[in-house]
Symmetry: C2
Subunit: 359 residues, 2 copies
């Protein structure tokens, strides 16, 4: 070296022209402030051992250059991204959205960002794709909001060393799971209707391939049987209000149907419409209980009695769970397991009443 003329400054500027990269680096700030880059680092991270005067100088230099730390370099050095990945299906269901929101909020409080991995179509291929993309993603851990059966075959491609918590699913034997207490909620709904004097309770279930729907339906059946009642035939919907409407048209013709437990509020909404159209009054002729307690449920016609889910708590626990996994290096050996249940709450409104025979 030394043959060419330039030797001190041009190095930093030569190639920089080709790529007008976003910002100033620590070295730039250090140069302007007349300190070493390490001092800039200390200021940037709020470490002690820096004079107030020096700190001010560095801060001024940062402002002048519009310095923002390069998080790639930071992550590379620290070995963590401070980011959580969330894999979810299209955000079509209110529950997923509310859970996601709670996750994002909790994560932010812990200084973590949340990266979304949407899976457009819930096919096995898509899920696998998401998981392999995840492999290259800058995340420290993953929260999956997804029915477990779609997760199964994807397990293989789950990179080792990536901690996972699953929400809204079962399979607590293989993953750490956080979920609403589906069984308790369904039981409360059915018992409430029985306590009002109804002989039995019909069930408008969610789609067959949903474990949440399965568990609600199962708890409905069990609760009835335990109470010595005969479970009527199960009516199947697909979570949508439209499917609730179609089911409702059928239920309206069942003259001995005085109480319906709908597996979610949307289907309950459609059900209410169908019953109204067929002239069956709610709650005078038929009582209806929903599940979820979406914001609009209080404004249905009539306001819907429903099972409140605490999505915020589910989200919070997901974050807590996944972070504790990260922080304990090898505390829980394989993947960690166990299910944490979040309790539900029966919200009484105007869609339930004693059956006609009791008045």
């Amino acid at each position: 070296m030394g043959t060419a003329d330039g030797d001190s400054t041009p190095v930093g500027t030569r190639k920089r022209a080709a790529r007008p990269r976003q910002g100033a680096s620590m070295a730039d700030v250090a140069r302007l402030a007349g300190v070493s880059s390490q001092t800039v680092s200390r200021v940037s991270n709020g470490f002690p051992g820096v004079t107030e005067e020096t700190r001010q100088q560095v801060m001024a230099a940062m402002r002048e250059l519009g310095y923002r730390p390069n998080s790639a370099a930071r992550a590379l050095k620290r070995g963590e991204f401070r980011t959580l990945g969330v894999i979810t299906f299209s955000l079509s269901t209110m529950g997923n959205i509310r859970t996601l929101e709670a996750i994002a909020t909790s994560a932010a409080q812990q200084g973590y960002a949340v990266t979304l991995l949407p899976v457009a179509v819930p096919t096995q291929d898509e899920v696998n794709g998401a998981f392999s993309r995840l492999g290259e993603l800058a995340v420290d851990a993953v929260i999956v909001i997804m029915e477990i059966h779609l997760l199964d075959a994807a397990t293989v491609s789950l990179p080792p060393g990536v901690q996972v918590v699953v929400a809204d699913s079962d399979a607590g034997d293989r993953y750490t799971v956080v979920d609403t207490d589906q069984v308790g909620g369904a039981r409360d709904a059915v018992r409430h209707l029985l306590a009002l004097g109804h002989d039995t309770v019909w069930h408008l279930a969610g789609p067959e391939d949903s474990f949440a729907a399965q568990r609600r339906a199962h708890a409905w059946r069990t609760t009835l049987t335990e109470a010595g009642r005969n479970p009527p035939p199960l009516v199947r919907g697909d979570w949508s209000a439209e499917s609730g409407y179609r089911a409702g048209l059928r239920l309206a013709d069942e003259q001995d149907c005085t109480a319906v437990f709908a597996a979610n509020d949307q289907m309950a909404l459609g059900l209410l419409r169908a019953l109204h159209e067929r002239g069956r009054k709610v709650p005078d002729d038929v009582s209806v209980v929903g599940f979820d307690d979406i914001a609009e449920a209080a404004s249905f016609l009539p306001p819907l009695t429903t099972i409140h889910q605490d999505f915020a708590e589910v989200g919070r626990l997901c974050v807590e769970g996944v972070l504790s996994k990260i922080r304990r290096p090898e505390h829980d050996a394989p993947t960690g397991q166990g299910t944490t249940l979040v309790p539900t709450r029966l919200v009484l409104r105007d869609s339930t009443a004693p059956p006609p025979s009791h008045r």
Copy 2:
């Protein structure tokens, strides 16, 4: 050096024990496959100039070690994160959610991940906080889904060099904005009701501090005036079904009110309930038009005529806009501006009919 005994292998393992870092690095793969790390890099990125045989060996080594590329190092080297940041308020409104979903999907198609920056409370402080956190975030560009007035004072802390697209707002003079054609939608709603024969149209508006609400209200007033009608007093809600209900109780007492344009579907839902309770039939006595076309709107009592918003398109355009900004280095000089409007569509259902006087 050379004084201590170990010199070749222990280097890689010594400190590693303290931090059981997640995975194997390129060097590890290279060692196992008996090639250089550069060759591993070539395989990893699908570059040419590698024998099929070598490629297979490397792939095998990758699988064996469970290698996943370190995206921090990759981002550091490449100078980009392939990630978009999305700043949004609590995901309470359906519109934001659907937009976010579309953004995530579009971004994924372009090979970009999406990082969520939730702002819990829409105060100026919180927004500023989000923007400064954003400064340290691993994102190449930002999409803001937010009312613009909250963005104003935050501008200062927006790091230079970070491209921004704003959805669901105005201020196309300062930012690149993608938004639903609020004016066109509101006009269509009002004109539809006038065409049915109503003398005038009442408006159940959204909160005062929402520009979307403002524009819908303004367009409502303008359309009425242009048609030579007298705009009735404006009724104010807050987007919630509950506020729609309260407003509806008041509107039900206005005997000359035969047509209402609600600024969103949730408020329309509450309105329907209030009108029903007061014995005013929809659409026979009062016609109602909503805005948004949420999934449940078709299941309201009666099914709601409403203005459909194409949130998917809004999201798609946001991603497209922000990516084109990134890719054109300094094509659009300052911040870029201009508003892209996404058209709406009137969806006819059963909540509108000619006024009683016409039958």
